[in-house]
C-alpha cells in the first residue's frame, strides 16, 4: 500500500512540474510579446523550435535514463561517432539517399548504448562513473581515428532534405518560412517516448526500477534487459539527434558536441526528471527544452547580451531545485519522517 501512496504522490508532483513550467512559459511569452511583438509569430516559433530539435531529442533520451535511476553523460560522444561514421559513408560512397543516411546512425547509437548498459549492469558502479569513462574512451578513439577532420560536401539530397518543410507559409514581407521536418521528427519522438513510458509494460517497469531497484528485482523484473533497453534507447536517440545536427549544419565537426552533455542533463532536470530516478515525464522534458529555447530567443529579441542566457538558466535550475527540496521537506515534516542530510 505504501508503494501505491508514493506513486500517487509522485504523480501529483509530475503534474505540478509540468503545470509550473507551462505557467512560466505562458507568462514569459506574454512578457516577451509585450517587449517585441515579433516573438509571438509562427515564423519565430518555427525557427526557435527548429534550432532546438537536437537538444530536444537528446533530452528525451536522457529523461528515460534518469527515470530508470541512471544517468548518461557519454551520449555526446555516441552522437559524434554516429554522425561521423554516417558522414564518412555517405561522402566516400556518395550515397545520394537520405533514408540510408537517416538509418546509419541509429544502430551505431544502439551498439554504443549497449556497451554502457552492459557495463552499468555488470559493474554495479554508479552510472555517472561508467559513462564518464566511456565518454573518454569513445571520444578519444573518434578523435584519434578521425584526426579531428571535418566532413562536408554532402550529396545533394542530404542538402535539400535539411530545407524540407511539412508545410510552408509566407510572411508579411513575402519571405517564405515553414514547419521544418525536424520539428515533426522531434514531436513524433516526444509522443513515442511518452507512449512507451505511459502505456508500454517496459515503460512502467522503467519507473519501477528507478523508484526502487531492489524491489523491482524481487518482483521478478529482468534488470539487465531493462538497463540495456534504457541505455540503447538513449543511444538510438543520440544517433537520430546526430543526424538532425549534421543535417542542420551541413557539416560534421568531431569536437563540436562533446562538452555539452551537462547542458542537456540540465534541460531534462528542468523538465522535472529526478536524478534519483522514478520520476519525470516526456511532456516535462519537452517543456523544459521549450523554456530554455524561449529564454535564449527572448534575450536575442530583447537585444540583450546572449551571455546572460546561462546566468538566467543556472538561476532557474537552482531555484526550481530549491522549491522542490522545500516541498519534500514540508512533506516529510507532515508525515513525521526524519530527513537525514
Amino acid at each position: 500500500m505504501i508503494g501505491r501512496e508514493a506513486y500517487l504522490v509522485n504523480k501529483k508532483i509530475f503534474q505540478q512540474t509540468e503545470f509550473y513550467l507551462g505557467i512560466i512559459i505562458v507568462a514569459l511569452s506574454f512578457f516577451l510579446t509585450l517587449i517585441n511583438p515579433k516573438f509571438l509569430t509562427l515564423e519565430n516559433w518555427f525557427d526557435m523550435l527548429r534550432s532546438n530539435t537536437f537538444l530536444g531529442i537528446l533530452a528525451l533520451g536522457e529523461l528515460v535514463v534518469l527515470i530508470s535511476g541512471g544517468i548518461d553523460v557519454s551520449f555526446t560522444a555516441t552522437a559524434t561517432i554516429a554522425q561521423y561514421i554516417m558522414g564518412l559513408i555517405i561522402t566516400t560512397y556518395y550515397i545520394d539517399n537520405v533514408l540510408v543516411a537517416f538509418l546509419i546512425p541509429i544502430p551505431i547509437g544502439i551498439a554504443l548504448g549497449a556497451i554502457n548498459g552492459a557495463l552499468v549492469y555488470y559493474t554495479k558502479v554508479h552510472p555517472v562513473i561508467i559513462t564518464i569513462s566511456t565518454l573518454n574512451a569513445f571520444f578519444g578513439f573518434l578523435m584519434f581515428f578521425s584526426g579531428g577532420k571535418w566532413i562536408y560536401n554532402f550529396p545533394p539530397s542530404f542538402r535539400s532534405f535539411s530545407r524540407l518543410q511539412v508545410f510552408s507559409l509566407v510572411n508579411a514581407r513575402g519571405v517564405e518560412y515553414g514547419f521544418s521536418i525536424f520539428i515533426l521528427l522531434w514531436i513524433i519522438l516526444a509522443i513515442f517516448t511518452w507512449m512507451i513510458l505511459k502505456y508500454f509494460p517496459v515503460g512502467r517497469k522503467i519507473y519501477a526500477v528507478g523508484g526502487n531497484l531492489e524491489a523491482a528485482r524481487r518482483a521478478g523484473f529482468n534488470i539487465f534487459r531493462l538497463q540495456l533497453f534504457v541505455y540503447c534507447f538513449m543511444g538510438a536517440l543520440a544517433g537520430l539527434a546526430s543526424f538532425v545536427n549534421a543535417s542542420l549544419n551541413q557539416m560534421i565537426q568531431p569536437n563540436s558536441l562533446v562538452g555539452g552533455e551537462l547542458d542537456i542533463l540540465a534541460a531534462a532536470i528542468l523538465g522535472g526528471a529526478s536524478v534519483f530516478g522514478g520520476s519525470g515525464s516526456a511532456g516535462g522534458a519537452f517543456l523544459g527544452v521549450l523554456l530554455i529555447a524561449i529564454i535564449k530567443n527572448g534575450l536575442i529579441l530583447m537585444r540583450a547580451s546572449a551571455y546572460w542566457h546561462e546566468v538566467i538558466m543556472g538561476a532557474i535550475i537552482v531555484a526550481a531545485a530549491g522549491i522542490s527540496a522545500y516541498q519534500q521537506k514540508a512533506k516529510a515534516k507532515r508525515e513525521g519522517e526524519i530527513l537525514v542530510p
Binding site: 553523460v73 557495463l119 555488470y122 559493474t123 554495479k124 558502479v125 554508479h126 555517472v128 562513473i129 561508467i130 564518464i132 569513462s133 566511456t134 565518454l135 573518454n136 574512451a137 569513445f138 571520444f139 578519444g140 578513439f141 573518434l142 578523435m143 584519434f144 562538452g259 551537462l262 547542458d263 542533463l265 540540465a266 532536470i269 536524478v275 534519483f276 547580451s305 551571455y307 546572460w308 542566457h309 546561462e310 546566468v311 538566467i312 538558466m313 543556472g314 538561476a315 532557474i316 535550475i317 537552482v318 531545485a321 530549491g322 527540496a325 522545500y326 519534500q328 521537506k329 530527513l339 537525514v340 542530510p341
Partner: protein, 318 residues
C-alpha cells in the same frame, strides 16, 4: 607481507593501482627506450600533473560524503578571471590578486554549501545549476575574451622551479598535505568519513551533519581557488571556458584513486597515485608521438578495467 601497508587495507584498489603504475612505467620505459625516466620527462610530468591534481583534490571532499561538485571548474575559472582582472585592470599586486581570487572561491563555496547543506538540494543538481550560473557570470564579465599579460613574479608560480622541482608541483604537494592533514588529523575529517559511510548513524552520534557538509563545499571551493592560481599562471591567461574537459576527468581520477562514489572511503595517497598513472600515460604517449586523444581513451579504459577487476575480486570473496 604483514609489513606491507596494502595487505592491511580492505581496499584492493590501491594495490591494483601500484601494479598498474609499475607496469605502465616499465612499458613506457621500454617503448621510449628509457626516455620517460629522463629528467625533462619527469619534469614535464610534474608540470602537467598539478592542474588536474588540484581540481581532483577539490572534487575529493564532496565525493567522500557521497556528493559531487560539478561547479569546480567554473569556480576556478571565475576566480582566475578575478585574479587576472585585478592584475591587469586594477594593477593590484599578485599577492593581493591571489587573495581576492581565494576570497571569491570561498564566497562561492558558502553559496554551494548553503544550497546543499541547508536547503537540502541534491548536490548534483545544485552544483549543475551553479556551474551554468557561474560560467554565465564569467562570460558576462569577460564577454568571451581572453585576459592575458601578467607580471613575471606571478608567472613564476606556473613556470618557475625550485631546486629543479616545478612550482605547480610544489603547490600541489602542499595542497595534498593540507588535505591529508584535514582528513586524517582533525575531528572534521573523521566526521566527514563517518558521514560518507552512514549519514544516519553520524547524525545520531551527535554530529551536526549540515555543518560538516557546509564545510566540505567550502573546502572544495577553496581548493578550486588554489587550482585557479596554477591555471592562470601556467596558461598566462584566463577565460570563461578553460579546462572544462577536466570536470568529468576529476570524477574519473577520484574513482581511479579509490574514492568510493557513494562516499566514506578514499585516501589522498590513492588519489596522488591515480594522478601519476594518468599523467605517465599522457606523457608516455606524447613521447611516443601518439595522439593525446588516444591517451584520454586509455584513461577511460583503465578506469573501467580497474572497476571490473575490483568486481571480480569482490565477487570471489563473497
Amino acid at each position: 607481507m604483514s609489513r606491507n601497508p596494502f595487505s592491511k587495507s580492505k581496499n584492493p584498489q590501491l594495490l591494483i593501482l601500484v601494479i598498474i603504475l609499475v607496469a605502465i612505467f616499465l612499458l613506457f620505459g621500454l617503448l621510449t627506450k628509457g626516455k620517460i625516466f629522463e629528467l625533462h620527462s619527469l619534469q614535464a610530468i610534474a608540470f602537467q600533473l598539478p592542474l588536474l591534481g588540484l581540481l581532483t583534490l577539490a572534487q575529493m571532499s564532496p565525493m567522500l560524503t557521497g556528493g559531487i561538485d560539478l561547479s569546480i571548474v567554473s569556480t576556478a575559472n571565475l576566480s582566475a578571471i578575478i585574479i587576472a582582472l585585478s592584475m591587469t585592470q586594477f594593477n593590484f599586486s599578485p599577492f593581493l590578486a591571489i587573495i581576492l581570487g581565494l576570497v571569491l572561491s570561498l564566497g562561492l563555496g558558502v553559496l554551494k554549501g548553503t544550497l546543499v547543506a541547508f536547503c537540502s538540494i541534491p548536490a548534483m543538481i545544485a552544483t549543475l545549476g551553479l556551474m551554468i550560473f557561474i560560467r554565465g557570470v564569467a562570460l558576462v564579465i569577460t564577454k568571451g575574451y581572453v585576459i592575458a599579460g601578467f607580471p613575471q613574479s606571478f608567472l613564476f608560480l606556473g613556470d618557475g622551479t625550485i631546486l629543479g622541482i616545478p612550482m605547480p608541483f610544489i603547490i600541489f604537494l602542499i595542497a595534498a598535505a593540507f588535505m591529508s592533514l584535514i582528513l586524517n588529523r582533525t575531528p572534521f575529517g573523521i566526521q566527514l568519513y563517518l558521514l560518507g559511510s552512514n549519514p544516519t548513524a553520524t547524525l545520531f552520534s551527535g554530529v551536526n551533519n549540515k555543518r560538516v557538509i557546509f564545510r566540505v563545499y567550502l573546502l572544495c571551493s577553496f581548493l578550486a581557488g588554489v587550482a585557479s592560481i596554477v591555471m592562470t599562471a601556467r596558461f598566462n591567461a584566463a577565460q570563461a571556458g578553460y579546462g572544462e574537459s577536466y570536470l568529468l576527468l576529476t570524477v574519473l581520477a577520484c574513482v581511479l584513486g579509490g574514492v568510493n562514489p557513494s562516499g566514506g572511503f578514499g585516501k589522498v595517497g590513492g588519489l596522488i597515485l591515480s594522478m601519476v598513472v594518468l599523467q605517465v600515460v599522457a606523457t608516455g604517449f606524447n613521447l611516443l608521438g601518439l595522439s593525446s586523444h588516444l591517451a584520454s581513451a586509455l584513461w577511460g579504459i583503465i578506469l573501467v578495467s580497474v572497476i571490473l577487476t575490483n568486481r571480480l575480486i569482490f565477487a570471489r570473496e563473497t
